[in-house]
């Protein structure tokens, strides 16, 4: 029964993402860029803690942490987006998101420079991601949210953190060793 429920939830989520992207977003910063995450995907925000590195994983996988007894993977979003790495500050924090992979829910932490605020973005203020040509990977961008003069990059976090991608990269890493 719970399977069916999960499937239903997933399909409604998918539909709302495609048709109606308006809603509440948690915005955070990586360097000068502002990003947004669907609020429903966010489980909690925690301060930076000791992260246990896991060998033979892609560079952007920082390791694992103990979140009240549950071991969760932490991904450095700067590394994931091939941005320059910076020193951690006291504003650096981990956003724990809940993503669904093949119908299963799992929690993953993402390291961001700074969490900003929760914004209500109406769907008419959200535009499709611009075509960035070969270099840009617009696949995991849900849309561009316009708030006054500024633009927030709204992420499809499921796609950003897809399991198979992590596994693929780790296979590649293995092969290169």
């Amino acid at each position: 029964m719970s399977n069916a429920n999960a499937a239903v939830m997933e399909s409604t989520e998918a539909r709302s993402a495609a048709a109606d992207r308006g809603g509440k977003y948690l915005t955070f910063a990586l360097g000068k860029e502002e990003y947004g995450l669907e609020i429903l995907k966010v489980r909690e925000i925690i301060g930076l803690m000791d992260i246990t590195a896991v060998p033979r994983t892609p560079k952007y996988v920082k390791g694992v942490i103990n979140l009240r007894g549950q071991v969760i993977t932490v991904v450095d979003l700067r590394a994931k987006f091939s941005m320059a790495l910076v020193e951690k500050t006291d504003q650096t924090c981990i956003i724990v998101v809940e993503i669904s992979q093949n119908g299963r829910k799992l929690s993953i932490g993402i390291i961001v420079d700074r969490v900003s605020e929760v914004l209500d973005i109406a769907s008419e203020n959200i535009e499709d991601p611009p075509n960035l040509g070969d270099g840009g990977d617009a696949d995991f961008i849900l849309g561009m949210g316009k708030i006054g003069e500024s633009v927030k990059i709204l992420l499809d976090i499921d796609k950003v953190l897809s399991t198979c991608e992590i596994l693929q990269v780790s296979d590649a890493a293995k092969a290169s060793v």
Binding site: N3, D50, T52, A53, V54, P55, R56, T57, V61, G63, V64, I65, N66, R68, G69, Q70, V71, I72, T73, Q101, R104, L106, S107, I108, L161, T163, I166, L167, S170, K174
Partner: protein, 692 residues
Amino acid sequence: MSSNLGGDAGGELNRLAARLGEMVRQVDAEDLTGLAQLHDALGGASTLAEAALEPTRANAVNAIAIAGMQLIEQIVLKEVDDTRASIDQIGKSIAELQSFIGGAAKVEGATDARPETQTPAQASTAVVEQGPLSEADLPLVQEFIGEAGGHLEAAEAGLLQLEENGSNPDALSAVFRGFHTIKGVAGFLNLVQIGALAHAAESVLDLARKGKLRFDGAVADVILQSIDAMRKLIQFIADIGKTGGTPAPLDGLNELLARLKDCAQGRQAEAPAPVQAAAPAQAPAAAGEAGQHQAVGGSAIKVSTDRLDALINMVGELVIAQAMVNQDICGLAARDRRVSRNLSHLNKIARELQELSMSMRMVPIQGVFQKMARLVRDLARKSGKEINFVTIGAETELDRNVVEAISDPLVHMVRNAADHGIESPDDRLKAAKPREGSLTLKAYHQSGNIVIEIADDGRGLNKAKLLRKAIEAGLIKQGQELSEQEIFQLIYHPGLSTADKVTDVSGRGVGMDVVRRNVEVLRGGIEIASTEGRGSTFTIRLPLTLAVIDGLVIKVGPQRHIIPITSIEQSIQPRAAQISTIQNRGEVCMVRDRLVPVLRLHRLFGVKPVNEDPAAGLFVIVQSGASRCCLLVDELLGQQQVVIKSLGPTLGHVKGISGGAILGDGNVSLILDVPSLINLAAEENDAGKALE
């Protein structure tokens, strides 16, 4: 649902049965009219039953009805003292009668609607037409699926017991009950196929129960097949419950039904009337056994495994949190008596809670053993061997997950023992052994482990042949000296089979390799003891639970890791002279005259170690099967029991890491996966591999 033969009479019979129930509730000893009506109604039921039901069932109804009528006559004639009790007795008879009639008419329609003249194709549509399940029934069907599994298991167990001792009325009743209950619920839920099959099997069993049918191997076979078919049917229903749609007809169901019917009818005539006079003598012992089993069952509730796992996780967290608090305030506790007392109280509760929650996941290994009994029976029949299968310690409890995971390896090993180990009766007689081979499956606890032994008195492992095959396969060199254990280890090599002929059950040489890998995944090990011509004993040692391990906490650079204690052979402080490099690539260490490849953990993990020079650090020598490897570490921090946590699907398959564990300070440390580390060492160190 069925408008076929006997349908009208059946319907009338059902109505009459219902009326009988009402009448007996209202009647009393002084109400002569009421008694007379009841008398007539019982007579009517008896007549109707002959028209509506098949003979066995009609006979039963007849017997009950006549007994009831006689009692009524006695009441009327004032021949009985306690009329109230007599009427109660009639009430009970009528309830029994109703149970015979109820469902019967329904299912009857399905099975008996197959007149001899019908072609099989038509018959199949008549029997297996199973409409889609109604939405409202789905929860009930789910429950039925769960329960039916249990009933079938009980029936199977009873059946195997029966085969050993054909005159055990309790076992027979147990088998009968299983089918009877399934039939009842299936009729209620409109699961026609299952109902029909259960009914047919039940009829056969009923005859056996009444002593009208001799219970022999052929009957057992057909009933066992019915159990298998029933499992398949239930699986169909389960699939439909998930995906919707209508059930596919089960191949061979009709043949099976026909065989059951033949069994019931054909044998009925030839069966001698006073069957199994010895039965009562053995009954008490068996009854005692059955009583014990029931007592073990006790009262229980069903809890979903998800909830249980969540609870166990929470308790695990509690224990970790408590350890952290302990560390934080141990200074305070030393000064304040009250704090220290309360703290130790808390520790005690937390520990007990953990033990309790762990024990909740424990299930007896009985189910698996039973499966093996069935397997051995089938194998013995197929190969014409005589095998006495004995299980000891079936009540031994272990983690549910372990039970599930150990089932497949056990199947392999039991199969091997029955197929290769035990010889044919003729060969056994030639070797001066009893005709009947013996195969013993034994489970017991030993120092925090569960041990499962598979012992046979068959031909044992042929060392010379193993060596020859290994040399042929190029695994070892001619003239190489190997210890007995090392020779036995050869059977784990994939592709190395000592069987001369490949049968459909075993002999392809993949089995033992898979077995060992499965057992190692469970962090267990296998030992082999074998004497040629006298039999072999395989001993599997497994941890009680998958959730907690004893680990050695080690330090490499800034990181702490955990090595499972079970895979550690020793740790040494190497001298520089012990270590040599091979072609400037691989490193090996001479340990007690053996060359063991070295794996520098810090290189694997990409961290800066305290000691780059092995001679300044420590080697932990780990083993998996026959292969070993030295792990270079900086420091040994101590032994600790840790709760294993999965790293989750994202990182679940990292080579060299089997999981994470949360240490006392709340940080995660990684548990090293020794077998894959050894492989890594071998990969990076080809020279070392060649030496191993």
